[in-house]
C-alpha cells in the first residue's frame, strides 16, 4: 500500500490524467453513433475517435464508465467489460465517469419499459423493446436506473475494448512489418510471435492514426479472464481512506456555501419570510428567491454551510395552502375512492377474471396498502454551481447528467452546450439522484452570486420533507380457487403515475401520455399461469411528487401479490411453495421454479419448526432477475426477531459474483428497513417526518445473516441493484403469519407488531 497520498487527495474529473500525446479509442457498432465527446477534453496532441478508452503514451489506461457510481460497483463492472476485450489487467486501469454526452445514452433501460413481461419474447414484445431502445437513443438518456447499466453496456463496451485492441495490434503489425493476425495481446501489450512486446502506450500515437476495424469478434465466455469472476472495486482504496470526492466534498476557489428552504406543501408558493432575520445571522450573505418547475422557496447563501443552515432556520417562512388533502387520512380517502371507481387501464391478464369471480362460490378478498417512502440517501442532497460569462458548470452526484444539463439550460435560457455537468461520486442514489430539483435550485442561486461558485447543501430535514416519494398505493385483490388451486384473480391497484409526476416537474412542456406500467409492475408481469386474471390500474395523481425509488412499482406490487398468494395457499390448504410450482407451468417460467427450489433447499423449507417460529417465502421477477427469498422469524419472545434471510437470484449471466451478491444483499436490507419501520405521513399539507429519529433504517443489530445463491438459467441478462428489494416485505409478512397466524396487509409492519432489533 504505497499509494495512499496519491489516492487520498486525487483530483476528481480525472480526464486530464491521460498523459499528453495519449490516444482515446472506443467503439460500438451503431448505424449512426453520437459523436465522441472526448477529443475536446483531452490534452493537446491526443487523438480520439470513440468514447470509452483513453490510452496515454505512459501506458496509463483510462476507461470511461458513464454510469453513476452510487455504491453499486458499476464502475468496476463496466471497466471489466472493456478490460476483458482490451486485454489489460484490472490493476492497470483507471475508471472515470466522463462527461455528460449523448454517446453514453442508456438504451437498455428504455427497452424494458415496454409493457410486456420480461419472459415474453413474442413479436409484439420484441418490436416494442426495439422501439423503446431507439427512443432511449433518440432522447440520449444517459441515465443510471432500472438496474440496466450492465445489460445496456454488455455488448457495446466489450466491442469498444475489442476494437481498441485490434487497432493497437494493427499499429504494432505495421511497425514490425508482420501480419496483425499473428500477434497476440496480454496485460496491455501487443506480443510478437518471437515474444517481443510493445506496450499499448508505445503504440498509442500510431494507433490513433488508423481506422478501427469495421467489425470485431468477441471472446467466448469460456475464454474470459476477468468477467464472471469477482473483482476488487476500482475505487476501494479511496473509499477506506476518505479520498472519494462526493458532491458534498467539492471545494473550489472563492466558493460560497448555501442551503435551500423549499415549500413543504408541494406546489405551493411562499406567503412570507423574515429575510432580515436570516441576514442577521452571522455569516449569512444573501437570501435568494427560487422559482422553478420543481418547487418554489428560498436559497440562503453564507460563508459556510452551518451559517447557511442557521440562516435558513431564522427565515421562518409561511406558505400558501396545498392542493391536496392536508393529512394522510384525507389522502387515503382519495385513494380508496379511486380504488372503488373505474379503472384507468389494465395490463396483461388472461381469461375472464370478472366473470369467473362472479360465478365462483367462494371469493377470497383482501385489502392491502403501502405508504409513501423517502429515499434518505446517506449523503444529503447537494449540488455545486457556478454561473459565469453566460455558462453554467454543475458539480453533481447525479444519475442523469444529460437531463440535468438540458433542464438547467432551459431554466437559464442558455444553450445546452453552455451547461457542463461534472459527475462526482454519489453517496447513495436509489432513484433520488435522477431528479433535477437539486441542480435547478443550485443554478437558481448561482445566477445571483456574481460568478462565484456556490455549494448548495440540503439539511437532512429538507432531504426527507422535499423528496420525490415512492408512491403510497392501495390494492384490492379478489380470487377464487378450484380444487384448492388459484383459478381467478382480480388485482386492482390505486396509485399515482411516477412517470407523469416526473415529466410534469422535469419537462412540463412535453406532457406525458400512455399507461404507466409501474403501477402494475410486480403483478401483471409475473411468471404464473392463471386460468383467469386481471390487473387493473386505478390511477390517482396529486401534487405530491412521486419518483423512482429502488425497484419502483415492484416494491409495491411484489408485496401485494406475493402476500396475497400466501393467503390463497392457506385458503386452499396448500404449501405456499408447492402452490407456486403448480402455477408456474409454462416452460418460460422455469427460472422461477429453479430459484424457488434453490431457496427452499437453502432454508430447509418445510422442516418442522417450533411453535412461534415461522418461515415465509416470496418470489418476484424484476429488472430481468428472478429473485426468491425466504425469511425466518422467531416470535416466541412476543416481538418479531428476524433470524435469517435466504435469497436465490437468477440474472442469467453474472459478470461479477461478489458484487452481485453485495447488491442483492443491499436491496434486501433496503426493502427490509421499509417493511419494518418506514412511513412518510402528512399533516397540515406537509410531510411529518424530518430526520433519522423519525424516519430511520435498520442498523447493524437489526440485520440478520443473509445467504445469497446465484443461478444462471435465465435466457438473458438481468440487473443487480434492485431485484433484491421487491420480495422481502412479502417474505417477512408471510413468515410472521407462519409464526403467529397474524396476517399483516399494511406496511410498515412496525405499526402492528413489535420488532426485536437487537
Amino acid at each position: 500500500m504505497g499509494k495512499i497520498a496519491k489516492y487520498t487527495r486525487r483530483g476528481f474529473l480525472g480526464l486530464g490524467i491521460a498523459a499528453a500525446g495519449g490516444l482515446a479509442v472506443g467503439y460500438y457498432y451503431y448505424q449512426k453513433p453520437y459523436p465522441n465527446p472526448l477529443p475536446g477534453t483531452l490534452p493537446e496532441g491526443a487523438y480520439s475517435f470513440t468514447p470509452y478508452v483513453i490510452i496515454g503514451t505512459d501506458n496509463q489506461i483510462t476507461i470511461i464508465t458513464p454510469r453513476a457510481e452510487m455504491g453499486q460497483g458499476i464502475h468496476t463492472t463496466l471497466a471489466a467489460l472493456v478490460a476483458e476485450e482490451l486485454d489489460v489487467d484490472m490493476d492497470q486501469i483507471t475508471a472515470e465517469h466522463g462527461p455528460a454526452a449523448a454517446a453514453y445514452h442508456n438504451s437498455g433501460m428504455m427497452k424494458e419499459g415496454a409493457p410486456f413481461p420480461f419472459f415474453e419474447e413474442g413479436f409484439m414484445a420484441e418490436a416494442a423493446r426495439g422501439a423503446m431502445g431507439v427512443v432511449g437513443k433518440f432522447l440520449a438518456l444517459q441515465v443510471t436506473g432500472g438496474s440496466s447499466a450492465s445489460t445496456d453496456a454488455y455488448e457495446k463496451m466489450r466491442e469498444a475494448g475489442a476494437a481498441a485492441r485490434e487497432t493497437l495490434k494493427a499499429a504494432a503489425a505495421a511497425r514490425w512489418g508482420v501480419q496483425a493476425k499473428d500477434l497476440t495481446t496480454a496485460s496491455a501489450a501487443v506480443v510478437h510471435p518471437d515474444g517481443t512486446k510493445l506496450n499499448y502506450g508505445e503504440l498509442a500515437a500510431e494507433a490513433a492514426l488508423l481506422e478501427p476495424p469495421k467489425s470485431v469478434s468477441l471472446k467466448d465466455p469460456s475464454e474470459w479472464k476477468i468477467l464472471g469472476k469477482s473483482q476488487k472495486r476500482v475505487e476501494l482504496l479511496e473509499k477506506v481512506t476518505g479520498g472519494t470526492i462526493f458532491g458534498i466534498d467539492v471545494q473550489l476557489p472563492e466558493m460560497l456555501y448555501a442551503t435551500v428552504v423549499m415549500a413543504p406543501r408541494f406546489g405551493a408558493r411562499p406567503a412570507s419570510a423574515d429575510k432580515a432575520a436570516a441576514l442577521a445571522v452571522s455569516g449569512v450573505q444573501k437570501v435568494v428567491d427560487i422559482v422553478t418547475t420543481t418547487g418554489a422557496g428560498f436559497g440562503v447563501v453564507a460563508s459556510n454551510t452551518w451559517a447557511a443552515f442557521e440562516g435558513a432556520k431564522a427565515l421562518a417562512p409561511t406558505w400558501e395552502a396545498a392542493s391536496y388533502p392536508a393529512d394522510t387520512a384525507g389522502i387515503t380517502a382519495l385513494y380508496e375512492a379511486a380504488l372503488e371507481g373505474e379503472e384507468s387501464f389494465t395490463l396483461g391478464g388472461e381469461g375472464d377474471a370478472l366473470e369467473a369471480l362472479t360465478e365462483a362460490s367462494d371469493v377470497i378478498e383482501a385489502h392491502y396498502s403501502v405508504p409513501y417512502l423517502a429515499h434518505a440517501t446517506m449523503e444529503p442532497l447537494n449540488a455545486t454551481a457556478q454561473f459565469k460569462d453566460g455558462k453554467l458548470t454543475l458539480w453533481l452526484g447525479t444519475q442523469a447528467p444529460g437531463i440535468a444539463q438540458t433542464v438547467a439550460a432551459t431554466m437559464l435560457e442558455v444553450e445546452t452546450e453552455d451547461v457542463e455537468v461534472i459527475t462526482t461520486h454519489l453517496g447513495g442514489g436509489f432513484g433520488r439522484r435522477a431528479e433535477v430539483d437539486v441542480p435547478l435550485y443550485a443554478a437558481a442561486i448561482a445566477v445571483q452570486t456574481g460568478g462565484k461558485p456556490v455549494k448548495v447543501t440540503w439539511s437532512r430535514e429538507e432531504d426527507i420533507r422535499r423528496d420525490t416519494y415512492r408512491p403510497m398505493a392501495v390494492s384490492k385483490l379478489r380470487a377464487s380457487l378450484k380444487n384448492g388451486l388459484p383459478d381467478a384473480l382480480d388485482m386492482r391497484v390505486a396509485a399515482p403515475s411516477v412517470t407523469k409526476s416526473l415529466m410534469a416537474r422535469t419537462f412540463p412542456s412535453m406532457g406525458s401520455a400512455g399507461a404507466d406500467r409501474s403501477i402494475l409492475d410486480g403483478g401483471f408481469d409475473q411468471p404464473f399461469s392463471w386460468p383467469h386474471s386481471r390487473f387493473a390500474a386505478h390511477q390517482l395523481d396529486t401534487d405530491i411528487p412521486v419518483g423512482f425509488w429502488r425497484s419502483v412499482g415492484y416494491s409495491i406490487n411484489g408485496f401485494f401479490h406475493e402476500s396475497f398468494l400466501d393467503e390463497l395457499a392457506v385458503a386452499g390448504g396448500q404449501d405456499p411453495l408447492e402452490m407456486r410450482f403448480a402455477m408456474m407451468k409454462d416452460e418460460r417460467h422455469a427460472p422461477a421454479r429453479e430459484v424457488l427450489k434453490a431457496v427452499a433447499d437453502m432454508a430447509n423449507w418445510g422442516q418442522p419448526l417450533p411453535e412461534g417460529v415461522g418461515q415465509g417465502i416470496a418470489h418476484t421477477l424484476s429488472f430481468g432477475t428472478w429473485t426468491a427469498e425466504v425469511v425466518q422469524v422467531d416470535m416466541r419472545g412476543g416481538s418479531v426477531k428476524i433470524e435469517k434471510i435466504w435469497v436465490a437470484a437468477d440474472p442469467g449471466l453474472v459478470l461479477d459474483p461478489g458484487n452481485f451478491e453485495a447488491q442483492i444483499t443491499s436491496g434486501v436490507i433496503y426493502g427490509l428497513s421499509a417493511a419494518v419501520g418506514q412511513e412518510i405521513t402528512f399533516s397540515d399539507g406537509r410531510v411529518e417526518q424530518e430526520n433519522f429519529f423519525d424516519y430511520d433504517a435498520l442498523r447493524m443489530a437489526g440485520v440478520p445473516p443473509i445467504e445469497v445463491s446465484l443461478l444462471t438459467n435465465s435466457h438473458k441478462m438481468g440487473g443487480a441493484g434492485e431485484p433484491g428489494t421487491p420480495p422481502i416485505a412479502a417474505a417477512l409478512g408471510n413468515a410472521i403469519f407462519a409464526a403467529s397466524g397474524q396476517r399483516l396487509r399494511d406496511l410498515p409492519f412496525g405499526k402492528h407488531v413489535e420488532f426485536d432489533l437487537g
Binding site: 500500500m1 504505497g2 495512499i4 497520498a5 487520498t8 455504491g71 453499486q72 476488487k232 472495486r233 475505487e235 476501494l236 479511496e238 473509499k239 477506506v240 481512506t241 476518505g242 472519494t244 462526493f246 466534498d249 471545494q251 456555501y257 452571522s282 459556510n304 454551510t305 452551518w306 443552515f309 434518505a376 440517501t377 446517506m378 449523503e379 444529503p380 461520486h425 454519489l426 453517496g427 447513495g428 442514489g429 436509489f430 447543501t457 439539511s459 437532512r460 461478489g658 453485495a662 444483499t665 443491499s666 436491496g667 436490507i669 428497513s673 430526520n691 433519522f692 429519529f693 430511520d696 433504517a697 435498520l698 442498523r699 447493524m700 443489530a701 440485520v703 445473516p705 443473509i706 437487537g758
Partner: protein, 149 residues
C-alpha cells in the same frame, strides 16, 4: 480557538457554537467526516477525540477536549490501519459515504474490546449505512480483531 487535528495544530476563528463537523469540513478542508443528519443520529460525522468516537455534528468545536483524529489521520504514514486493511479485504464499501465514520467507530471498539462478540459489535456499531453493508462490516471487524479469516 485551537484545535489539534491529525497531529496538526490549527487556529480557527469560528462562533462558539459552531459544530466541529463544519469547522473541519468548511474551514479546515478536512472532508473525511461527513454530514449525514446534523442531529447525531447517523454517525457519518464520527471522529475520534483522544481515541473516543464522537459525533462531530453535535459537538461544538469550542468544547473539543482533546486531539481529533479523522479518517485522513488514521494511516500510519503510508501504512493503512488494520481496520482499513480489513475493509479492503472484505470489500465493505458500496457508496462509501458512511464508511469513514464506520471505520473510526470500529477502531474505537477494537481499542476497548480487542475481541468483540457479535453483541459487542451490535452495541458499539450503530452508525447508519443505507447501502446495507452490515454483514461485510461485521466480518471485517472480526478480521481486524484477528478473530477470523
Amino acid at each position: 480557538m485551537e484545535l489539534i487535528v491529525n497531529s496538526e495544530a490549527h487556529t480557527v476563528e469560528a462562533p462558539e457554537d459552531m459544530p466541529l463537523l463544519w469547522v473541519l469540513r468548511d474551514m479546515l478542508d478536512i472532508k473525511g467526516p461527513k454530514f449525514g443528519c446534523g442531529v447525531g443520529a447517523c454517525g457519518a460525522c464520527t471522529v475520534l477525540i483522544d481515541g473516543e468516537p464522537v459525533r462531530s455534528c453535535v459537538t461544538a468545536a469550542a468544547d473539543v477536549w482533546g486531539e481529533v483524529t479523522t479518517i485522513e489521520g488514521l494511516p500510519d504514514g503510508e501504512r493503512l490501519h488494520k481496520v482499513q486493511e480489513a475493509w479492503i479485504k472484505h470489500e465493505v464499501p458500496q457508496c462509501g459515504y458512511c464508511q469513514s465514520g464506520q471505520i473510526l467507530a470500529a477502531v474505537a471498539l477494537l481499542e476497548t474490546t480487542p475481541n468483540p462478540s457479535d453483541d459487542d459489535i451490535d452495541a458499539a456499531m450503530d452508525n447508519l449505512c443505507r447501502c446495507g453493508t452490515y454483514p461485510r462490516l461485521r466480518a471485517a471487524i472480526k478480521t481486524a480483531a484477528g478473530m477470523e479469516g
